[in-house]
């Protein structure tokens, strides 16, 4: 540090004062002849003053929380002022951090979701109140314990291992209020810490299950009276004494009863697919054989497109449930046939590549406008209500396809050009393909 700057301000003044005092002492010593004695006396007084100031500073530093800074002149005053400034600033920052922390805590406690912060080895670093009560964690005691040791649900552990390949996982906690919790893992590429967001989805799950039960029960209840009605209608159609005037209405009634039965069967099938969340049984299903059978069924119908082509490019089988795969393919094939005029064609193709197995059903039918494609798999969604009713069908076919495909880890892709035809493609992952 340059000397000039060190000598600035009060330090310079103090030095001048010291030099002045010494000069006066020197002059007084020379006048009175006791140079040594007076010098020693003056220096002693000066030193005593310095030590006193030092002691006052020390005392204040120790009691700085309660006492005001001492009023000292000179360089000691400067030191007191500087220390006081640093101390004040620190106090101010500390208060701000504490306030922020307190606000943060209040905020996280008020958060409707639970949050657990995890370290690199999934050890618990911090969690908020909701997470504690929902997951049964205990404050302080459980810090540092790996989360999979305390939240032991196999699905959650698998989800943690896969590092969020799915978006979230739902687990059931029968203890303490029978809750359903949705856990969502948030990872950032920047830090090794992870955040688990916990949501209480008990209400949603209950509502969903009530809805599912309602649909299933209602369908069941409607089916029994409908069977009776359809039975009498069948008998009436066969009745030779029936008035000719009534024949046509009764035939129409029977057709509509059949359609209703179809809708109810599809509803039941859909609710069954939804209710059983587990993976379907692991049969080895011969896709080629199944598609060939579907083609033969279609060819035996009166109203059908003239050309139905089958391209089997693989002999591989698929792992899954035979009945569900059948309902996927038959829904797609019958849809294609329904919306394709007699002079059009339908092509069914099965092939396997590195990305997995694929079944595509292409038709040269009326096609679907782009804006309808994302909504096709919704229940009872109709592109053109008038036309669809005439053609028939339950309006649930593609919803069933979607759910059954999901249960086989598959996806449905739809490409279509209005007026020229559509392609519905089912993609199955490679793990599901069994090479023969």
């Amino acid at each position: 540090m340059p000397f000039g700057r060190a000598l600035s301000g009060t330090a310079g003044q103090a030095l001048f004062r010291l030099a002045g005092t010494l000069l006066l002492a020197l002059i007084a010593g020379l006048i009175f002849g006791h140079l040594g004695g007076i010098l020693i006396a003056v220096l002693s007084v000066y030193l005593a003053l310095q030590v006193l100031n030092l002691l006052r500073l020390d005392r204040w530093l120790r009691l700085r929380r309660t006492e005001l800074p001492p009023d000292i002149n000179g360089p000691w005053g400067e030191v007191v002022a500087t220390v006081n400034r640093i101390y004040r600033r620190k106090q101010f920052h500390k208060a701000r951090v504490v306030r922020l922390l307190r606000e943060f805590r209040r905020l996280t406690a008020a958060m409707p979701d639970g949050a657990v912060l995890l370290g690199p080895n999934n050890e618990i670093i911090w969690f908020n109140r909701h997470a504690a009560s929902w997951l049964g964690l205990r404050r302080k005691l459980d810090f540092g314990i790996r989360i999979e040791n305390l939240v032991r649900d196999p699905q959650f552990i698998q989800y943690l291992k896969d590092q969020g390949s799915r978006s979230s996982v739902t687990i059931h906690k029968p203890a303490k209020g029978d809750r359903w919790l949705e856990l969502h893992l948030v990872t950032t590429s920047a830090s090794e810490q992870k955040l688990v967001i916990v949501r209480d989805v008990t209400r949603e799950i209950r509502v969903e299950s009530i809805r599912r039960d309602f649909v299933a029960n209602a369908s069941h209840e409607i089916r029994s009276p409908l069977t009776v009605i359809a039975g009498y209608l069948d008998a009436l159609v066969e009745e030779p004494q029936l008035d000719a005037l009534w024949r046509e209405p009764i035939l129409e009634m029977r057709r509509q009863a059949d359609r209703m039965r179809g809708i109810i069967n599809d509803l039941l099938e859909l609710s069954r697919l939804e209710a059983s969340g587990t993976a379907p049984s692991d049969q080895s299903v011969d896709v080629g054989g199944m598609l060939a059978l579907l083609r033969r069924d279609l060819e035996s119908q009166e109203q059908r497109p003239r050309r139905i082509e089958l391209k089997l490019e693989s002999t591989a089988h698929l792992r899954g449930s035979e009945s569900e795969l059948h309902s996927i393919f038959s829904n797609l094939v019958s849809n294609a046939a329904k919306y394709t005029p007699v002079e059009g064609e339908v092509e069914i193709r099965w092939w396997v590549d590195a990305a997995g197995g694929h079944v595509a059903v292409r038709d040269s039918g009326i096609g679907i406008a782009v804006e309808h494609i994302p909504r096709l798999t919704e229940r009872f969604y109709r592109v053109d209500p008038g036309r669809s009713r005439k053609i028939g069908g339950s309006g649930l076919g593609l919803a069933i396809v979607k759910h059954a495909l999901q249960r086989h880890d598959g996806t449905l892709a739809v490409e279509s050009v209005e007026g020229r035809g559509s392609v519905f493609t089912c993609h199955f992952p490679p793990e599901r393909v069994i090479h023969i």
Binding site: N149, L150, R152, P154, P174, A175
Partner: protein
């Protein structure tokens, strides 16, 4: 310098090994808990599909037991653990045997559940079994929590619950006998229900055993076949001294 680095490396690997074994045991416990929950659900809901699933999944529990056993013998052979580490390994070896037995009992319940699903359900819809099942599931859950937290006091509390389970089992037994005397046609079903209750009661015993291993692991004191009151007194005496808990990692 190199040497200290090396020893540090071995130590951390050792710690990792111990921690992994502990985590695996608790994972196995999680699987067993799930099996137990589903087995009771299969019976109460009368869903043969869930019952079959439980019976089918038991091999996963068995496979985990074998894998953890292997890990433990490898650690014993290569690290020669001492003191708290040794207690951890011994407790783990014992715990997984009990967990595997719980898995077997759950399999049995699932099997009986899927068989009973075809029969008419009783008027009370197996309310007693559901209650006992919940009690036992809480015991298993608490025992595994105590294992994870090395919490001997909690373990003792859970072990005491075994009496409740025994009482509940007695009640179900009496109820079944009454049913059988009233209507001999229900004997087959009542016997099956009794088997389920018996299996649940056994699971309670296994959970109690796990609690005892936790106490052993924390205090190094074998509390099997000792009255729980004596154990409690002993723990209170010791609580003045800090437990030399094996923290693992």
């Amino acid at each position: 310098m190199e040497k200290s680095d090396l020893s540090h490396h071995i130590l951390s690997r050792y710690n990792e090994d111990l921690e992994r074994v502990r985590t695996n045991v608790l994972q196995m416990g999680g699987l067993v808990e799930e099996q137990l929950k589903q087995a009771v659900e299969a019976l109460v809901q009368g869903d043969s599909r869930i019952g079959d699933l439980v019976a089918h999944n038991d091999h996963k529990v068995n496979a985990m037991e074998v894998a953890i056993d292997d890990d433990c013998s490898r650690i014993l052979a290569t690290r020669s653990p001492a003191a708290s580490d040794l207690r951890l390994i011994v407790a783990v070896i014992k715990t997984i045997t009990d967990l595997e037995r719980i898995g077997d009992e759950a399999e049995k319940i699932g099997y009986i559940g899927s068989r009973l699903a075809t029969m008419e359900r009783p008027a009370d819809r197996y309310r007693e079994i559901k209650h006992l099942g919940r009690l036992v599931a809480e015991m298993v859950h608490g025992a595994l929590d105590a294992f994870a937290r090395l919490d001997a006091e909690a373990a003792l509390g859970i072990a005491k619950k075994d009496r409740l389970v025994d009482e509940e089992f007695d009640a179900i037994q009496r109820q079944c006998i009454t049913f059988m005397m009233e209507d001999p046609r229900t004997i087959r079903r009542a016997l099956d229900v009794l088997w389920v209750a018996r299996a649940l009661e056994r699971i309670g015993d296994h959970a109690k055993n796990i609690c005892e291993y936790v106490i052993y692991m924390v205090y190094g004191k074998d509390v099997r076949h000792v009255a729980l009151e004596d154990v409690e007194k002993h723990l209170q005496q010791r609580s003045g001294r800090a437990p030399d808990a094996a923290q693992g990692g």
